[in-house]
């Protein structure tokens, strides 16, 4: 029994001896709270004003009611239409002051009444001016303040009255205070809004520029690869007639046609590319620069350099495993380059955002394309914030899209991150891998028969040791 009592008491203490509470629910009522308060003030001032006007100034019930309602309406209107509210309030005060003046001089009013501003009218005008200063430009607010002061001066200073206690100075000082307060708050809010807007514009601008830069960089890389192939075609077409004893005219003509087309295509490519390349694209990647190991004058990388990339990422402190599955066919160089770049970027992201994590790189070869996945576990320690976040993903997605593929990047349920891309072999499935295969074959065939094979004693069978990734022999060699 006693135990139960103790527990109740403890529960009671936990429940009630605390200052904690959930935040208020977002409600329509709450949003209209300030307006409700203003309405209450309006009613309050109207009642007080009626009392002052009817009894204090002795203007009679009807007139008092009329002016008091006008004053109350002005306050109630202020949150919605501040400028008309101010006009209404000011006119009401001037009218009531003029009426009170007659009564004061005649001695019908209460002796020593506050004049020209009755206390309720002062409160009303304060509320109206404050709400106005919050909502209109500073200049307009200053104008209303000046006009109010002028009206007060005309009433008290020029026209004057008798048997009253002066409220003019006090009223103007109060009005000045609330207008200053309102205008300052408004100014601060304006500045903040502008700042936010500007920040928004800059961010958008930056994002757009990054996207464009990214695109042109990717396009350039891919064009590089294409241009390179074109050059080789033009060379081969020139060499071919020298490889047979007596080439027929038709053959020569045909080959000349091939060469001419290749040269024209190259000329076009040069024009499209605009050339004048003023940056080393490879240098832009975080680990890449280090991982390529062969910056800036190395050929564009393909998947056969994946080993080196992974090795360097390991050296940088990530535990990386690689899983390659499926029957391996060499892919078009554009695809291999993009796959390499995507893996490179994903690894560099993992280094940046998930220090000390385990990373798995998966390469699945399908007949129709290449599936690339880079998955990292939850970071071992919190990553330092890095400014350039998001741009890498943008680039990866651009690369995948340009090849007609897809890319997905998302957090895993274990707190890690996964980047998955599918790169189709080509738009036309019957196309490029067959042709690259042929290129590879011709290459070896010629080494055996070519006249230079005998002439160049210095280079025994060096043909396969170079980075011939772009000719399509990489696949076989790498595996």
């Amino acid at each position: 029994m006693e135990k139960r009592l103790t527990r109740w008491l403890r529960v009671l203490r936990e429940d009630l001896w605390t200052a904690d509470a959930n935040p208020l629910p977002p409600s329509v009522w709450l949003r209209w709270l300030p307006h409700g308060l203003v309405i209450l003030v309006a009613i309050g001032t109207a009642i007080a004003d009626m009392d002052q006007l009817g009894d204090g100034y002795n203007l009679g019930t009807e007139t008092g009611l009329l002016i008091a309602v006008a004053q109350g309406t002005a306050v109630g209107l202020a949150p919605w239409r501040p400028v008309p509210a101010w006009w209404l309030s000011t006119v009401a005060v001037v009218v009531s002051a003029m009426g009170a003046r007659t009564q004061l001089i005649a001695g019908h009013a209460e002796f020593n009444s506050p004049w020209p501003w009755s206390p309720p009218a002062m409160v009303a005008q304060c509320v109206v001016l404050y709400l106005l200063a919050l909502r209109v430009p500073t200049r307009a607010a200053a104008e209303t303040l000046a006009l109010t002061a002028l009206a007060t001066y005309i009433l008290q200073g020029l026209i004057g009255s008798a048997n009253y206690s002066s409220t003019g100075m006090l009223a103007v000082a109060l009005f000045g205070g609330v207008v200053l307060l309102g205008s300052t708050q408004r100014g601060r809010r304006e500045a903040r809004t502008q700042l936010v807007e500007q920040a928004g514009i800059t961010a958008e601008e930056r994002a757009r520029r990054t996207l464009l830069e990214e695109r042109s960089r990717i396009a350039r890389e891919l064009h590089d690869v294409v241009a390179h192939h074109m050059s080789v075609i033009s060379i081969q077409a020139q060499v071919a007639p020298h490889l047979t004893e007596n080439p027929s005219e038709e053959l020569k003509e045909n080959l000349a046609g091939i060469r001419q087309n290749a040269v024209e295509a190259l000329t076009e490519l040069r024009r499209v590319l605009g050339v004048l390349r003023s940056e080393h694209p490879e240098d832009q990647y975080g680990i890449a620069g280090a991982a390529d190991g062969t910056a800036p004058h190395a050929p564009q990388p393909t998947l056969d350099r994946l080993g080196a990339l992974v090795e360097n990422t390991r050296a940088a402190g990530l535990a990386v495993t690689v899983e390659i599955s499926g029957e391996v066919h060499p892919f078009p160089p554009g695809v291999e380059l993009s796959a390499y770049r995507i893996i490179q970027e994903a690894l560099s992201n993992a280094l940046r955002h998930a220090p000390g994590s385990n990373v798995r790189v998966e390469l699945d070869h399908y007949p129709r394309g290449l599936q690339v996945r880079v998955i990292n576990s939850r970071p071992a320690r919190p990553a330092p914030p890095s400014p350039g976040a998001g741009h890498g993903l943008l680039g990866m997605r651009e690369r995948a899209t340009m090849l007609g593929g897809t890319l997905m990047a998302t957090e895993t349920s274990h707190g890690g991150f996964v980047v998955a891309a599918f790169l189709p072999r080509s738009d036309d499935p019957s196309g490029s891998h067959i042709s690259t295969g042929t290129t590879g074959k011709t290459a070896t065939g010629k080494t055996a028969t070519g006249k230079t094979a005998t002439g160049t004693t210095g280079t025994p069978a060096t043909g396969t040791t170079g980075t011939t990734g772009t000719t399509g022999t990489t696949g076989e060699k790498a595996r």
Binding site: S231, S234, I235, R277, A298, G450, G463, T468
Partner: protein, 225 residues
């Protein structure tokens, strides 16, 4: 003729390119391809081993890029000339290659005749290769990198005599010795002497470097390309 044939080494990581250029050049009686290299380091080694007159050098190669290989080769063997192979002519790499000491550059899709001619011109050393493109290349890139005509270079121009300055300007325009001789109404041998003096005074190794110097010092103003 064979004894005085121009000895050429081809350095390119692509077997197709090496093979192709070898075949094309070997059809020329006065050109002899003496070897092939598969990357920059290989090129440096093969040059030491084979002692060619000219190296056709690809820029993008694994192990050691063509530009660094050019620099090394020229430092070790100042008499050997390097002709850079490139896919794009208006390329920053080509500009870098010229700075590294290359004597000229050649597009990979050049015709067999252009290829042979380029090798001959660079070997003879008395004319510039593709002066028009070179002028554009140098002016655009020196502008892009924000290096306006440099004062120290200008001061060195002051070491030249008036005649020599004139000859240098003609070199930069891409005129051969014979053409310069014709313009200045002097013997070709005289022009050769002038060229020799210019190179010595400016500490340059060939007329390509002289042309680069002429543009970058602001001696020659690029006009109408």
């Amino acid at each position: 003729m064979t004894s005085s044939a121009i000895r050429v080494l081809i350095a390119d990581d692509q077997q197709m390119v090496r093979q192709g250029f070898s075949v094309l050049l070997n059809t020329q009686p006065d050109i002899d391809v003496v070897g092939q290299a598969v990357h920059g380091l290989d090129a440096v080694a093969k040059v030491a081993e084979l002692g060619p007159d000219i190296v056709l050098m690809d820029i993008r190669m694994p192990e050691l890029g063509g530009i660094e290989a050019t620099r090394r080769i020229i430092t070790e063997h100042p008499h050997i000339k390097v002709l850079v192979l490139t896919t794009f002519d208006l390329d920053e790499y080509v500009y870098d290659a010229l700075h590294a000491g290359a004597s000229g550059f050649l597009l990979k899709d050049a015709s067999a005749d252009q290829l042979a001619e380029a090798v001959r011109v660079v070997a003879a050393g008395d004319a510039l290769l593709a002066p028009g493109v070179m002028r554009r290349l140098i002016t655009e890139f020196s502008r892009l990198r924000g290096s306006a005509p440099r004062a120290p270079l200008k001061e060195r121009v002051a070491d030249l005599t008036e005649r020599e300055t004139e000859v240098l300007a003609h070199i930069a325009q891409g005129l051969s010795n014979a053409e310069i001789a014709e313009r200045l109404i002097v013997a070709e041998q005289t022009v050769k002497t002038h060229v020799g003096r210019i190179l010595v005074k400016l500490g340059l190794r060939d007329r390509t470097q002289a042309a680069v110097f002429a543009y970058e010092s602001g001696l020659v103003r690029p006009s109408g390309y």
